[in-house]
Each structure stands twice: as C-alpha cells, then as structure tokens.
Symmetry: C2
Subunit: 433 residues, 2 copies
C-alpha cells in the first residue's frame, strides 16, 4: 500500500492493526523478561527494537513494510503519515505516565536524605558529562557519527547530556518492582535521579537553542522551566488544596471519591503543563511530572492514579517505547569500526554513571552494598535516554548510526540493573516478585 | 503558525494544548447540561460544535485558527496535519468505548423481549429509510446539497441510512443515566437499536462500495461482517472461556483479579477487531462492540471495564465528539432556504423514527407511556449519526452544508429525549440522578 497520501480512515485502519501487533509483541517479550527478572518496561523497549528494522525488518522486510510503512526518503524512519499519529499518541501515553510518577513522588523522603542524594547526583552528572563531552570531541573529529550541520561544542554538550541521563521513571518502576520503595537505596536513587534529569534537560535545551541559533531560546527554556515549577508549586498546588473538597463527592456506597469534574480538571492541568514545557523546549514529560507532584495527596491523588494508570501502562505507554524502537536500525552498525564506538560509548556511560555514583554514595557514608545498588540504579538509562536521543534525531543533532548506538547503550545499561541486584542479593523474597 | 509541514514535536505541542482546551470546554458545557438533565455525552457533542467554526471561529477567528488550525484548501475542515493525529486518537477512544458497551451488552434480555424488539426495529428502519430516501430524491433534484459526483440513488440510500441510525451507545448511556437499565422500555430500545444499527451500517457499506464502483466491496462488507460476527462468537468467545482462568490471578489482598496479560490480550483482540471491520468498511466501532460482547462475563469482564472506562470516557471519547464538531460549520447554513431544508430533514427524521417506533411499540402491545419513551430513545441519533455522516463527508458523498444540517439533526433529536422523559415522568427519583 502506498502511504504518501492516506485518508484519515486509512490511517485509522493502520493504527488499529499496529496497536494490536505492538500490544501482543510487548506482552510476549514481557513474559520472557519476567522469567529473567526484568521488568515489563524493559521488555517494551526491546519489543520496539525487535519490531523495527533491526529484526522484523531484517527477517521479513515486506511484511514489516506492510505493518509499519517506512519513509521513502529515509528508510531508517517510519513514514511521515504513520509518525504523524503514532508520535502524538505515544507522547500522550508518556505524559500520562509521568503525571502518575509525579503523583507518586515524595518530596519528604528526599529531604531526609538530602546529603547523599546531592553527592550521588553531582557525581552522576559531572563524571558522565565530562566523559561524554570528551568522547564527542574525539568522535566528532574521527567519525561521521554527527551530521555536518552539528557543531563540535553542540556534539559535546549533547553526548555529555545523553550520558548524564538517568531512567528516572524507569528507576521508579524498578524500585517498585524490586520492593525497594522507601528503602535508603531507593530513596537516594530517586532523589539523585530527579536532580540529574532536570539538569540534563537544561543542557539539552542549550543544545536545541543553539541549533536554531537563538540563545534567547535557551534562556526561555531555563527561565521558563524555573518559572513553571514555581508557578505550579506556589500557585496551582495551593489552589488545588483549597478547591479539592469541591472536586470530591460521595459515591453511592458512601465512599469518598474524586468527581468526574475533578478527574477532568486534573487531566486538563496535565495537558496544559505538558503543552507549556513542550512549547519552551523542555519536553512534555517535565510538565506532566511537575503537575503530578502538585496534585493534593489524598482522595484526588489516589483516584487519579487508579483511573489513569491501568490504560496508560497497558495500552498507551507501549506505543512510546515501540515508537523509539521502530526508528532504530541496529543493522546500521555494519562494521567492526562502528561496533567499537558502540563499545566505547557503553564503557564511558557505565564508568561515568554507575561507577561514579557508587563512589559518591560510598564517600557520603553509605554501606557498600547499598552504594553498589545505587550505582546500578543510576546507571540504567531506559526511557529518558530514548526521549532525549529521539529529540536529537528529530532535530538532526545526531546521525541514525549514533542514535542506534545510544539505543543499545540505553537497553544494555537498563538490562544490567537486575542481574546486579541478583548478585548483591538485594531482591525481596521470591513471593513478592 | 503555519501548519503545512509541522515536525512531530510541533504536532505534539498542538495536541496537548488542544487536549486541555477540549477537556475543559466539554466539562464546562457538561456542568450546564447536567442542570438541564442532559447527559455528559450530549454536552460533548455540543462542546465540539461550540469550539468549531460555528461559534469560537465566528467570535474569534484568529484565536480559533491558533488553537485549531484549518485546512487552507478547505476552511470548513481542520488542517490535514491536525486531522492526521486527532482522527486516530478519537477513533481509539471511540473503539475503546464501544468495546465497553459491548461488554455491558446483555443478549439474554433481548431474547426475552424479542417480538417487541423486532417490531420496533423494523418500523424504526423502514419508515425513516423511506422518508430519507424520498427526501434525498427531492433534494437531489432541487438543491446543491449533494456533490456532483454523488449519484441520485447513492444520495437516496445514504440519507435513508442516515435517518435510520439510532444512537446505539448513547442510548445505552441515557438508559443508564436515567436509571432504566433492565426495564421493559430500556431493554426493547437497546435490542431494536442494535438491529437497526447493524442494518444501517450494511446500507452505508453499499453506498461506499458504489462510490468506488466496486460492488464486490459491498459483498465483502456484508459477507465479511457476518463472517466476523460468527468467528468472534463461535471461535473467539469459546476460546476465551477456556483460557480465562489463565488470565486471572490472585492479588496481594487475596482478591481474584485480571492479570496484566489478560488485560493486554483483551485490548489486542479489540484492536484487531476494530482493524478488521475498518478494513472491510464496516467501521471500527462495530468490531470493537462485537469483540466486547465476546469477553467472558465475570472477573475478566469486570476488570476490563474498570480499567478501560475511566480514562476512555474522561479523556479519549471527548476527542471524538469534538473532532466531529470541529468539522461542522453551522454558519454554512446562511440562508432561510437552507434552514428550511434543515427543518425538513428534522421533521422527516422525527416522524420516521420517533413516531414510527412509538406506533410499532403500541402495536406490539406495550403500554402507551413505555411506547412513547421507546420512541424518544430510538429517535436520539447522537454518536452513530456523527460517525456515519463523518464517513459520508470524508468520502465526498455529502456536501459540507448537508453535513451541518445532519449534525443539527443529530444534536436536536438527542437533546429531545430528556425533556420528553421529564414530561412522561419516566425519570427515577432525583437522588438517583
């Protein structure tokens, strides 16, 4: 089927079929992943890569083209029509998920372990940033991994920021999955992860602004981001506290529940937050997370999570992970040369993040086992890495090859966390898994 | 902002802002509607029309263009980029909703009142079809309401089918909202509505097939549709019955719940069902509904509904209703002449459906009050009318003007139901509303 000018109805036909395929493959990989002690979210990242040109497209290119038509101008990417609807739908799933993560975020725990959190987060930023920037300097001079339009210092900041990234939402899920919620290790890792990610997004904003040659854009991102956080925490949060009783009603069984109006108000706030941070180039996930953290704890918070989470995690979020995988072509790494750079990036990212955070946690006085666990958690790149490199690819900062290398880095560092936990015997009893 | 070649990121920015606006306006109209005894779903239809060129675009054309950019080639419709993602997202919401309606559908009740259901459904099909076809004959000769490419008999079948339509899912919601579930009236209306809608879709399939000059397409639609229903009921349903125990697990609190795998299997079946019926031109709603009716009753059915319904009704479904309204330009009816035709269509649709069904219900032996209630319910066109006329507009069977007339007809006939109920004192006690 030609995809150059599909009608809406034809697009919807594609959409439903792709949705069914994505859901089933994610679940099938998830069943295998679970046996190996890996969380579902890791399975979805891998399912995306498998469904993309890296495996499905290699084994059965015509079928793959039939299910996921590719862009005739750039066969590494999906066709523009398909991207046009898969991207917003996957962004919606992502924003809803980060909204839930924001609602589950507990500022109080971070306050308690502030010193360790800061030590780990500074180490987890400086070390990978310096390693990433140095590596970019080298790669920029010696390879074609950055497009011609990208300048050297942009390449350095971008790769530095990419290595800084922590799998912030994935970290939350792994901590939950491994039964570490509220533990010293889980808490420090979440706190440090949040700080690191906010910084990485600001670095990304600088790169994006510089590409468009508009440094006022970087100021807009950073200033707008700070203003947004202050506005949400100082205006939206207190307002919600005041009106929250009006958003709660008594159900037929006498239970206090969030009213339909309250639910929609929360969703609309999430949408506007996602819009604003997208608009100032800070990405929708950031706005959705901040708005989520401002939702009053209690009935509203409990019912928002209960109503959003199942369909978001079951249906929409897999679209995001798969979308990233579908744009990844591991076959592009078609020389020992490129695989060597892939190994280099991998070593730099593990040294810079995992080892540095382990060291910092030790230095701040934590026991060795916990410090190793924190290193493994911080090292996992997962979701956020995919977001940042997708933006880099969309805006032309990195080549398709470097994109593939960074996807592999994200998958490998994320996969590493669980076996390390098993080695450290940090897992809860089997019955809990 | 120009919208001719937006990047994915820019599209996502639009999407989140539109989402926030749509949610808030739907809710605001919903609060007013509730005071007037109208269900939320009616409010969403009207909110769409208000947000479109009919009101928002009339009062503040530049703002409207900013929030919902329009197609430069056809200012009656949204820009192609915006449609490209709003349409699949709204279709997803609709399919999920019809999936839930299918799960709530009770074949047993229809069996019990088979005679009345059939009488009402036959009357509710023949009368409006003949009136609609006659009206189309007249309009085709005397107006420009049908595009030149549409042939007379196509116009007749299309308008006939449009008048036949019942607000099948809306009918279910009104019956639930008014506390009529399980009553004689509610049951007969749902049964007759289901039969009528299946027939109307087959008529539509004939029209669509004839437009493309391929009558084998009509056979494919009708034959494929029958085959699909048989396959789902005779193969998928028994299979699900057999494996359902494997899809259920015991939660930490000892409660039996649907496993995540079971949830995803159900969603994937819905997606494939929607895909298949879309593919054979029978529309996704039909497949989603049939698959929903095949989900085993019990834990799976209960948890599927609980996990899908809140986010679907709160977030995704409003997109569908608004999408229809956004493509509607009531201002196109800019002459007394066109408004007269609008009145004509309205009278024909009310006579053909509401009065005919009332008469048939009386003739089959039901009491007068119940018969009037059934007439009012069957008369409401709501959702399904919007779907069928959207398809007609997309495929070029009807003009933008006739589309606007039919939207008004759908809104008015749907709005009528509640006041008629109040007059008949068919409402449950106020506490239940």
């Amino acid at each position: 089927m030609a995809t150059s000018s599909l009608t809406n109805v034809q697009l919807a036909v594609y959409f439903f079929f792709q949705l069914g395929v994505i859901l089933l493959v994610c679940r099938a990989v998830g069943v295998v992943a679970k046996r190996l002690g890996q969380p579902q979210v890791v399975a979805e990242m891998i399912a995306g890569v498998l469904l993309g040109p890296s495996l499905f497209g290699l084994l059965a290119p015509e079928w793959q083209q039939w299910v996921f038509p590719r862009n005739p101008d750039n066969p590494n990417q999906l066709s523009r029509d398909i991207q046009g609807y898969l991207f917003p739908a996957s962004q919606l799933g992502l924003a809803l998920y980060m909204f839930v993560v924001g609602m589950e975020f507990r500022v109080d725990i971070i306050r308690e372990n502030f010193r360790s959190s800061v030590a780990v987060s500074v180490a987890g930023m400086l070390a990978p940033f310096l390693l990433g920037a140095g590596l970019a300097w080298y790669l920029y001079n010696n390879t074609q991994l950055f497009p011609e339009n990208t300048q050297r210092w942009q390449a350095m900041i971008f790769l530095g920021a990419s290595l800084c990234i922590t799998a912030f939402p994935m970290l939350a899920r792994i901590i939950h999955y491994k039964g570490l919620t509220g533990t010293l290790m889980g808490t420090v890792a979440i706190g440090a992860g949040a700080i690191d990610d906010a910084t990485a997004w600001c670095l990304l904003a600088v790169v994006l602004a510089s590409i468009e040659g508009k440094f006022e854009n970087a100021l807009l991102s950073i200033g707008g981001g700070i203003g947004f956080v202050l506005f949400v925490l100082l205006v939206v949060r207190p307002l919600l506290q005041i009106i929250q009783d009006r958003l709660i009603e008594t159900a037929e069984n006498g239970k206090r529940i969030l009213s339909e109006t309250g639910f929609v108000v929360g969703l609309a706030l999430m949408a506007f937050g996602a819009w604003f941070t997208d608009r100032i180039d800070l990405h929708a996930v950031f706005g959705a997370f901040v708005v989520g953290s401002a939702i009053p704890r209690g009935v509203m918070h409990r019912d928002m999570i209960a109503r959003i989470q199942p369909l978001t995690v079951g249906l929409l979020l897999p679209l995001f992970f798969t979308f990233s995988g579908l744009n990844t072509r591991i076959g592009l790494l078609n020389s020992a040369y490129l695989w060597a750079f892939c190994g280099l990036v991998l070593v730099a990212s593990i040294l810079g993040k995992g080892f540095a955070c382990w060291g910092a946690a030790r230095a701040s006085g934590l026991p060795n086992r916990e410090a190793l666990g924190i290193g493994a958690l911080m090292n996992a790149r997962g979701l956020m890495e995919l977001i940042i490199i997708n933006i880099g690819l969309q805006r032309g900062v990195i080549s398709d090859e470097l994109f593939a290398i960074l996807v592999i880095m994200a998958v490998v560092t994320t996969l590493m966390a669980s076996p390390i936990f098993d080695l450290l015997r940090l897992n809860p009893p089997a019955s809990n898994r």
